[in-house]
Symmetry: C2
Subunit: 697 residues, 2 copies
């Protein structure tokens, strides 16, 4: 058997080297004229200020949580176990924070360069934006890969003699740390970005009657900052967590198969991820567009290249590492991986269908806007509800197919089959992340051209990219929710295994929802998801309210702003938005952390605490995924219905457009705060229950 | 042991006699002047036309379903079993249809009489309206009671020798028939009422600029008809089904306890319901108000009287019928019943808190309306999401407490404890239903006074009653969803028992959602609930669209309508609305019926079909209840926020009010179509899986 494990550090370092190279290439480009640089600096300052304060807040929360959990676990399972979990937790949170920060760092530098390229060349602007995005994608996924691999090697050297199962189970704190940071990063960033957006629009467009991105609006910089801290940092932390938790979960399941595949069973997930990274590098360098091409065609080309290479390498890895008792063991597992790859493709297509203006759904919302905002809202909301059906059916088929393929591969291998499918689904994560960060870069670039008063031609060029950025952002969300759904099943299994080990029973616990305590756990799981969404949406409204107050105050204090004779105080708006967003992220964040903990502890008076928490986890996950689909799809469709009306139905200023703006505004916190936060919530539920399982048995 | 079973027919007949007496009293009242009578006739004609056509459609669907199921069950379980299920099904559907029809019949006669009373006396109008409503409440609950009792006696005489378990299990078709009729009655009525409402408002208020209930609007009669067919007939069928299914489910569980309580274990649910009916008769006659009193105070007084009498009689029934091995068996079970009674009270209070303008939630929506429709929508929607938390916690506590009390009462009696709690919760069903029908009666009466141009004083008097009607309608929905949640747990148990009996195993099946097939069933359950809601909401939009088209056409064809020189063709609008509503109810209705059937049949290729359907049922029920809470609360709060703004914040015509109208319009299909249909959907899931269990094992 060839030892493939060296490919892990090689791929990780290659991805980091590529990211460094792309950074240099992007930074070498000119940043445009003085006015453009000035705006870029304002965005940078705002983003840095937000990130600094946000990470300070999160670091305090993380330190408190780490200490509490280390004590709790130490008290029940011994000091060593508590320490190991705490170390893994700290590493996971630190790497998550670092990858979010680095990705945002380059993205807010790529925006002015993309804008400057856009003055002359569409293709140049596209390449600059996707390369800036690729820095994020590659950094985040390689940090996740190297972090998990490094932790495994270190723990193996430290206490490998206790057996691989103890090593791998001690690593689950890494995923918990990553998901805790991701939750707060997404919540804080998501609240910030949408509050700034809604606030700037309401007070600027509606009250003052000035266009979007107008430099006279004091909240305009806060709005541009928001795109970076919400979309880049938030989704980056989200997919960092996905890849990390999936790797660890798959390694947990792999431990049981060491007898079949040797240590390869544990390394396979990491090798598969490494190959995915290498495929992404190839895909990124492929992306280039003709001047008259649809930007999505160019981006999709890169995606398909990534996908095909990833599929081939996946097969190679399965053939090399997963030779089992039957001759076709590797083949069945490869097919399970292919199921995951196809699932990711399906989610990309489904999302496009529901959110692009070319198809029925968005057109229906546009038509409904003709009779006013109420029918626009009803059309968009019922579309969101409807859009849950096909994704759920796809995930259901993927789970059953992957499970069956796993069983065919080897007896009792069903759950490993679903794990391999998840690896397939996440193989292209780095490319998808690059596309995601492409969104805020082009959004910012368009804003910079608008604010610095550049030619209509250049702005039209950038608007085309900006629209593609909206699509890629929607795609990423579809992909993130799909992978969360598929990964969930694997993480449940890890939880059940953990409870089995802790109880010392021969079989995992049975989550029988016919038992009252377990049924109550399921109900509470759904309730947490709904209450969390309520708090997230409300936080946006309350934060927006504070920004509106500030902008009104600035217009009053400096009457010259509207005339263009006085400059608004952008930094003050940024600061107010920052404080408010961070204050309002606490309540939903605590609910996510404390909800499952409290249920588990309260139900310890019954014999079913661990089962009840299991039901909370599983049914809460279903509810979270379904509700996230409603929010993401509804929000994306409203947004594009508005854009569609601007292009076709008489454009801005008409009653139809006004009705569509209402839907777009409602959709903002749906798709950029509540929806993405729910992806992370469901993964946090998995990791927190896994880490805290010791307290419930 | 005293034989209490004669109380069942006595109470049922007493309730029917009271209903007949109240009918006579109401019909003897004068119907007002010629103009009022004319409007009443138009409403009657429209309502009858709708009901006739709706019941024809439903009868065809029911006949097809009954035949198919009888064949399927006959093929698997023998001809006799198929026939018994078909007979029970037909009786359940026929009684459900009859009680909906009778209730609506008197309600559309009470409206002009209430309006005429309202010309002179507030108290007289209140009494007329609640007595008209009581005819519905008493008829429906006594039909349910007598139907279940009669069916049991008949089947017992026919094949009682096969044992009480076979008798009771053959009765489950009754509940299925009732829930199938209820689903279509609520869907058709709910789509009709809200499409007419939204359509009349959009084209009347917004386009033509004429006030609500203006006789020049061709859709105005359709709107008034809608209140009757949606609220009366819909909710009536809903609670007919609740009480019937709960009785049968509790009898199924009671069969297992015949060894302990004798045949009383089976009769107890019916005796408890009988006492509830007698309590309601007392409560209804108590209601009278001073001229200057808040109408809710008078109605609440009647409710509290009903509640206290019901609690005392419940204790008496438990003492007399449930004397078990331990001396305090009856006491624990009485306490379980009291848990249910308190739960119903809690739901009434919670609903009031979230939907009355006196409290924070509605005020927050009103404040959010100041910044436009988007913030109004976000505030209302996040409120709906938030409002799921306390009800779920209350139901969770009730289930655990009732289960524990049941276990204390007798070993293994936990599930019977939850059944007894549900009986307690439903003890006041008839009174709640009377309050519910009070809503459309006062709504219609207010419309009649408006359309016939009566004095401002009389209209203000009736508006006060109309506002109380909105509150009572919201209360009924809260009560209906709460009782659906509590009853669900009992119906799950019936399903598990049925599968156990069919399989001939010693223990019921284990619904372990850690198994892939079962997990997939749970996911699909949630998905069905969301897709069903999407179809229901969309149906309202599409039906409204057809009405808008007709009204526009009428204004064009008869230019004299607006000048008051020509009369609009009310009947044509009613007819178009009727056809469209019935056409659009088919898709969601079929989804509800076919969804679980298809999942069960497809998954028969695995060994987990029955378990998977169980998970679909249980998790789908949770999702349905939670989503219904969102719809009901959000819709109710938006409605009252609009009313609050009319009274306090500058009133109609202001931008704040316009924003609130958007929320109210969005809330209409939420609270009157999707929400109430979801209550029935979750019960239909229970009864259909129970009936079809034979196909899945």
């Amino acid at each position: 058997m060839v030892d493939f494990s060296p490919v892990i550090p090689i791929a990780g370092l290659a991805a980091l080297a590529t990211a460094a190279y792309l950074t240099l290439r992007v930074l070498r480009l000119p940043r445009g004229d003085e006015r453009m640089q000035e705006i870029e600096r304002a965005i940078q300052e705002g983003a840095r200020a937000f990130m600094r304060r946000q990470y300070t807040t999160i670091a305090i929360i993380a330190a408190v949580v780490a200490t509490l959990f280390a004590i709790a676990i130490g008290a029940t399972r011994g000091l060593a176990e508590g320490l190991r979990t705490a170390i893994a937790f700290s590493l996971g949170s630190a790497l998550s924070a670092a990858s979010g920060y680095i990705g945002m760092h380059i993205s807010i530098r790529a925006n002015s360069r993309t804008a400057n390229e856009g003055l002359t060349s569409f293709s140049g602007a596209l390449r600059t934006a996707i390369r800036g995005g690729a820095v994020s994608g590659l950094t985040i996924v390689s940090f996740s890969l190297l972090g998990v691999w490094g932790l495994f090697e270190a723990y193996n050297a430290w206490f490998g003699s206790e057996g691989p199962d103890r090593v791998v189970l001690s690593m689950v704190g890494f995923g918990f740390g990553a998901s805790l940071i991701a939750l707060f990063a997404q919540l804080g960033g998501g609240i910030y970005t949408k509050a700034a957006d809604v606030g700037a629009d309401l007070v600027g467009k509606v009250e003052a009657g000035i266009p979007e991105d107008d430099p006279r609006n004091p909240a305009v910089v806060a709005d541009l900052v928001g795109d970076n801290v919400g979309d880049c940092a938030g989704r980056g932390a989200d997919l960092f967590e996905s890849t990390a938790a999936e790797n660890i979960g798959a390694m947990v399941l792999g431990v049981a198969l060491v007898g079949v595949f040797g240590v390869n069973a544990i390394f396979f997930p990491l090798v598969a991820r490494s190959f995915g990274l290498l495929s992404t590098i190839a895909g990124i360098f492929i992306v280039r567009a003709r001047e008259d091409e649809r930007p999505m065609s160019a981006l999709n080309r890169g995606y398909y290249v990534t996908l095909v290479i990833a599929a081939v390498l996946f097969g190679l890895a399965a053939y090399a590492l997963l030779q089992g008792p039957g001759g076709s063991t590797w083949l069945y597992l490869f097919l399970a991986g292919l199921t995951g790859i196809l699932t990711s493709l399906a989610f990309v297509f489904i999302t496009q269908y529901y959110t692009e203006a070319r198809y029925r759904p968005v057109k229906e919302i546009a038509t409904a806007s003709e009779t006013g905002p109420a029918t626009n809202i009803l059309a968009g909301f019922s579309l969101g509800l409807e859009a849950t059906a096909i994704p759920i059916v796809v995930v259901a088929i993927a789970i059953l197919a992957a499970f069956k393929l796993g069983e065919l591969a080897l007896p009792g291998g069903g759950f490993y089959g679903t794990a391999v499918a998840t690896m397939g689904m996440l193989a292209t994560a780095a490319y998808i992340l690059a596309e995601d960060t492409f969104g805020p870069i082009t959004d910012n670039a368009a804003g910079i051209l608008e604010m610095s008063g550049k030619s209509a031609e250049a702005r039209a060029r950038m608007d085309k990219l900006d629209a593609a950025g909206n699509t890629t952002k929607a795609l990423t969300k579809g992909y993130a929710v799909g992978s969360a759904a598929l990964a969930a099943f694997l993480l449940f299994q890890a939880y059940l295994d953990e409870v089995k080990i802790l109880r010392g029973t021969a079989t995992p616990p049975v989550i029988n929802i016919g038992v009252p305590e377990v049924f109550v756990g399921a109900m509470v799981g759904v309730m947490i998801v709904f209450l969390f969404s309520a708090l997230a949406i409300r936080a946006v409204g309350r934060t927006a309210w504070e920004i509106i107050g500030d902008v009104r105050a600035q217009f009053k204090e400096k009457p010259g702003i509207m005339a263009g004779t006085e400059k608004p105080d952008y930094a003050r708006s940024v600061d107010i938005c920052t404080r408010a967003a961070l204050r309002h992220m606490i309540a939903p964040g605590l609910l996510a952390v404390l909800g499952p903990t409290v249920v588990g502890l309260v139900l310890r008076v019954t014999p079913y605490a661990a089962e009840s928490v299991g039901a909370l986890l599983m049914v809460g996950t279903i509810a979270g995924i379904v509700l996230a689909l409603v929010f993401n799809t509804g929000g994306g469709a409203w947004d594009n219905a508005k854009k569609f009306i601007e292009l076709t139905k008489g454009g801005k200023g008409t009653p139809t457009h006004k009705a569509a703006v209402v839907g777009d505004t409602v959709g903002d916190p749906f798709k950029d705060t509540a929806g993405p936060s729910l992806h992370i919530l469901v993964k946090l539920l998995s990791t927190i229950t896994l880490v805290l399982a010791v307290l419930f048995v």
